[in-house]
């Protein structure tokens, strides 16, 4: 699971404009100066890296406040993918 966290942090760091290095799990996602396109690109990169589909729609309020919450959500998607049918 540490792999997921470090992978997500690496992706966010590649897009963050206001970087509080190093990025920590407790950092707020809105503290990195990301614009609307950055969010789309981060979503895409996470999907590519972990081979998951994130049901994210920009019309709905973003439901994650911190990096940790995002990591947990990805871990949930990964466990659903590996769970027996």
């Amino acid at each position: 699971m540490a792999d997921v966290a470090s992978g997500v942090i690496e992706i966010i760091a590649s897009k963050a404009r206001d970087k509080s290095d190093p990025i920590k799990l407790s950092d707020r996602l809105d503290s990195f100066g990301l614009d609307s396109l950055d969010v789309l690109e981060i979503t895409f990169s996470v999907e590519e890296k972990f081979n998951i589909e994130i049901p994210f729609n920009a019309n709905r309020p973003f439901e994650f406040t911190t990096v940790a919450q995002l990591v947990e959500a990805i871990e949930r998607l990964l466990s659903q993918k590996t769970a027996p049918a």
Binding site: K15, L37, L40, E41, T43, F44, E47, E48, E53
Partner: protein, 404 residues
Amino acid sequence: VNRVVITGLGVVSPLGHTAKAYWDALVAGRSGFGPPTIFATDRLSTKVVAEVKDFVPGHHFDARQIGVLDRVSQFAVVAAREAIGQSGLSFADGLGEQTAAIIGSGIGGQTTQDDNFKRFYKEGATRVPPLIIPRTMPSAPASQISMFFGIKGPTYAISTACASASHSIGQAFHLVRSGAVTCALAGGSEAQLTTATVKAWEAMRIMAPDTCRPFSADRKGMVLGEGAAVLVLEMLNHAVARSADILGEIVGFGMSADAGDLTAPDPDGMTRAMNAALADAALAPDAIDYVNAHGTGTTANDVTETVALHRTFTHHARDIRISSTKSMVGHALGAAGALEAAAVVKAIRDGTIPPTMNYLAPDPACDLDYVPNEAQRSPIRAALSNSFAFGGLNAVLAFRQFMG
């Protein structure tokens, strides 16, 4: 009405990535043609194109910027940056709101579109990158120029195939002349050289297998090009007040539509567009010393354009120098009119007429002075730049030597 002058030029072309490199090469008669390198040719018969060579996005943009910029927008922004730099304008302090950006493109972000289709249809990808739509839209070059340089006035793209850039410059000219805006960035950008689009061009059976020789006997068709050019248009009073270096004056714009054949050129539509430009400029036909022809090098265009030049200029037609710079940079489609407008501005300023290269011998049906194979020194009082597009959409710009 306001007089409209040109205070900046920017060019990205197969003959160099600055207006100066481009112009010096045109005067020297250099060829921008070569074998394709940026797209696969194993299923094509095309052996010659006019690519923008050695264009390294990283020399002009950081990685984040490149992520949102298709090649067509990269060309446009680089050309705009040069033009604005030369003009010395700053768009802070409210001038941005009084400035337009009208940038034509025939196709838009074709390489982005191609990559997406390949990935999704051919390779069966389950997901595609998120920025394909804003990279592909034909208005992306106009939007990106607006965002890069703070242009907040009327900003849009015009897409009229091979006349896109001339329509764009003409519309911008009218906006400045009417006083709707103080300045305008106007031009066109095209970067549509991909295997599938070149294949589509081959299917039209008008591509030259060897080279482009406009108005010449034994011409075999057109050579595809790409690139961008942007002009800074400015109210004369505004330019004078800030002691700008005035490169030239744009004095007229004429448009017409053939309402006839989809691809075959029509001398009547061409003549009406040239007459409209002369009327808009209040120039008599015999005031024109140079015409930068549409001159694609196809059998049909060059004969038809010659007929239209005879009709427009009557007894004066044989006194006019006519050249096709497409003989050196190919046909850049939605950017062509801007590349050619830039050449006309330089030609008037330098008193040098760029040649029609690759000219072998006269075609009896093309019986005017096409400045074959060598530039000519000659003062130019006024000049036209012709663009005649598929779909019968014609746009002609008139320029005059700036006399103060």
